[in-house]
Amino acid sequence: MSDFLFVSAALFALGVYGVLTRRSAILIFMSVELMLGAANLALVAFARAYGSLEAQTVGLLVIALAAAEVAVGLGLVVAVFRMRSSTAVDDLSELRG
């Protein structure tokens, strides 16, 4: 199997680390993108191993979805920033139980 699977895992873990430690919404977003990329890498690596074009196709769809997600996500960040003048997610703690 491709060694890139392990690379994918490492990148994913890096992304996780980023999501947990970053406090700015934009940077968290970036970490999430990193995780998406890692997942895509895993898909492609598996596609290579299984000779499956379908997996590549799914990877393509993931990229498309990522584009949509980024559009909406950044829109949200901007909107929230308007209200709060901050991008720190910790300020958004109204969901408290």
Binding site: V16, V19, L20, L95, G97
Partner: protein
């Protein structure tokens, strides 16, 4: 028959206040007399029975008037009637007398239920009913805390015995599937093999009898029961109710005759009780308590007789005892009445002069109790002693201890007589003789106490009672003692009785030796049994009740803690829900890790 006194109870209980003067007592007495006559008529008409099927599922409400029941019913109603009449005089000045007679009638009704029952549960109704009547009557003067306490004690101690009765019934039911006495008897007659557990059933029923008849170790309630008005003591705690235990044994003779081991225990307990009662009676100062302990002792004799298998003799003694004990109580009552409520024998003495009639009554009663030759008690007690030798479950040991107890009996009978009637009067006031309405019942009882014994004489004379009761009792093969032996024994016991009486006369009229005084202190408190029970059983049980109460609170608190724990957990979880998205993300990742790990490991 039962309905008549019950009617009296209802009428007197509900509309008691409208009865003026003595009419309440008269009505109550008439009701009992009616029952008595009715019993006689029915008995000579060949008996009667009554049954309501399926009173409880599988258990009929059955009454049966056979010879045994009739015999007991006659004692109950006959002596009951006399005591009712006596009570008219005794309670003349009490404001609650209609209530008193209502209870009295209720008692008679319940006692008749007990006696006539042909099913154990029905008997149990009467059994408990008389217990209730006893409770009500002991606590009749309820404004004194002590009387109320005595009443409660009597009821609760009885209740312990009742538990035995209940469990015994349960066992019999699970063995035979019926609780009707006549059916059980038929089964016993037919079956050759006894089911296992029958002995236990007998023992349990016997515990019931122990409670009701104040045998060791449940005798502690009877002396305290003397807190009630004297006619109550006479009726319930001497003549009738306490003999219910003996009646139960006789009724169940078909059972016990097949259970030698249990019978042995019955005899043993009876014997020990007789001894204990006699010893305790020697130390009492209360005129009624002396008689009460003597009752315990005499009941012990009856159990001894029933234990050795001589059921008819036990019942014979029930009758003679009913006469002379009622007489003793009623003359004690007359004495108390005469002295305006004084019960301490140390403040009596010399009453022979003031109360000539009562003196005669007391003398006859005491002689009969002591077993002075030719009095009623003599014949029946001798029959008991003799029966320990020739009945199947008897033995020499029983005879010897029984004989010794007879000596003690004579001793304390004499002590009672001497302290009350002889010597100098040590009290205050001027005693006055009782009115005729109280004297006449005593006359009749005195006749009975003197002559009732002639109904059943040893060979070669007539024996009416054994013949009369035989059909209702289980037949046991008895080796006859031989006329010579029998009369020899008779002679022996009369010598013992006279010896006891003489010793008593000498001892209690003069100064008492020191050794006796030491003994007296122990006997006065009835050998500390009450104290022992209170410290060892009642006290700890009470403490335990409070302890358990606390434990229950603790359990409650435990639940509250549990609730608190759940709340705490909730608060902890709520703190996690701090609204920080990153914290949520953190837990998402943790959970994801766990799930992946779980999947991988599996």
């Amino acid at each position: 028959m039962i309905l008549l006194p019950l009617l009296g109870f209802l009428v007197l209980g509900l509309w008691g206040r409208s009865f003026k003067g003595q009419s309440a007592g008269v009505l109550a007495s008439l009701m009992v007399l009616g029952s008595f006559v009715l019993t006689l008529v029915l008995l000579f008409g060949g008996g009667a029975s009554f049954e309501v099927k399926d009173w409880l599922p599988g258990i009929p409400f059955a009454l049966l008037l056979d010879n045994l029941a009739g015999y007991m019913a006659l004692i109950v109603t006959g002596i009951g009637f006399l005591i009712h009449v006596y009570a008219i005089g005794y309670m003349a000045d009490d404001p609650g007398k209609s209530r008193f007679f209502a209870y009295f009638n209720f008692f008679i009704a319940m006692m008749l239920t007990l006696v006539l029952a042909d099913a154990y549960p029905v008997m149990f109704i009467g059994w408990e009913g008389v217990g209730l009547a006893s409770f009500l009557l002991i606590g009749f003067w309820f404004e004194d805390q002590k009387n109320a306490d005595s009443a409660r004690k009597a009821f609760i101690v009885n209740r312990i015995g009742d538990l035995g009765f209940l469990l015994g019934m349960a066992l019999l039911y699970s063995l035979f599937g019926t609780l009707q006495i006549s059916e059980l008897r038929e089964i016993m007659e037919k079956s050759l093999v006894l089911p296992a557990g029958l002995g236990l059933a007998g023992l349990l029923l016997f515990i019931g009898a122990i409670g009701k008849s104040a045998q060791l170790p449940l005798m502690v309630w009877l002396p305290d029961a003397m807190a009630g008005p004297t006619p109550v003591s006479a009726l319930i705690h001497a003549a009738t109710m306490v003999t219910a235990g003996v009646y139960l044994l006789a009724r169940s003779s078909f059972l016990y005759a097949n259970l030698p081991d249990v019978s042995y225990w019955i005899a043993l307990i009876g014997l020990l009780t007789a001894l204990y009662g006699a010893l305790s009676a020697l130390g009492q100062w209360d005129i009624k308590r002396i008689v009460a302990y003597s009752t315990i002792s005499q009941l012990g004799y009856m159990f001894l007789a029933a234990g050795v298998g001589a059921y008819w003799i036990a019942l014979f003694h029930v009758m003679t005892h009913a006469f002379y004990k009622a007489l003793l109580f009623l003359s004690s009552g007359s004495v108390i009445h005469a002295l305006g409520g004084e019960q301490d024998v140390r403040k009596m003495g010399g009453l022979k002069k003031y109360l000539p009639q009562t003196h005669i009554h007391g003398l006859i009663g005491a002689l009969s109790l002591a077993g002075f030759p030719l009095f009623a008690g003599f014949w029946s007690k001798d029959a008991i002693l003799a029966s320990t030798l020739n009945y199947p479950f008897g033995g020499y040991g029983f005879y010897l201890v029984g004989l010794f107890t007879a000596f003690l009996t004579a001793l304390y009978a004499m002590r009672w007589y001497v302290l009350v009637f002889l010597g100098d009067f040590k009290g205050q006031g001027h005693p006055h003789e009782a009115p005729p309405v109280m004297a006449w019942p005593n006359h009749l009882l005195a006749v009975g106490a003197a002559l009732a014994g002639f109904l059943a004489l040893p060979e070669p004379f007539w024996n009416l009672i054994e013949r009369f009761l035989a059909p209702s009792l289980w037949h046991l093969e008895v080796e006859p003692l031989g006329t010579a032996t029998e009369w020899g024994l008779l002679l022996l016991s009369s010598v013992v009785a006279i010896l006891g009486l003489f010793a008593g006369y000498r001892l209690f009229l003069g100064r008492l030796p020191d050794a006796y005084l030491a003994f007296q202190r122990a006997a006065e408190s009835a050998f500390y049994v009450d104290w022992l029970y209170n410290t060892l059983i009642v006290g700890p049980l009470k403490e335990l009740a409070f302890g358990f109460g606390l434990a229950d609170r603790g359990l409650d608190r435990g639940y509250v803690r549990l609730g608190g724990g759940v709340g705490l957990l909730g608060r902890l979880l709520a703190r996690l829900q701090g609204g920080y998205v990153r914290v949520y993300a953190f837990f998402v990742v943790v959970a994801a890790t766990v799930f992946v790990l779980w999947g991988v490991v599996r």
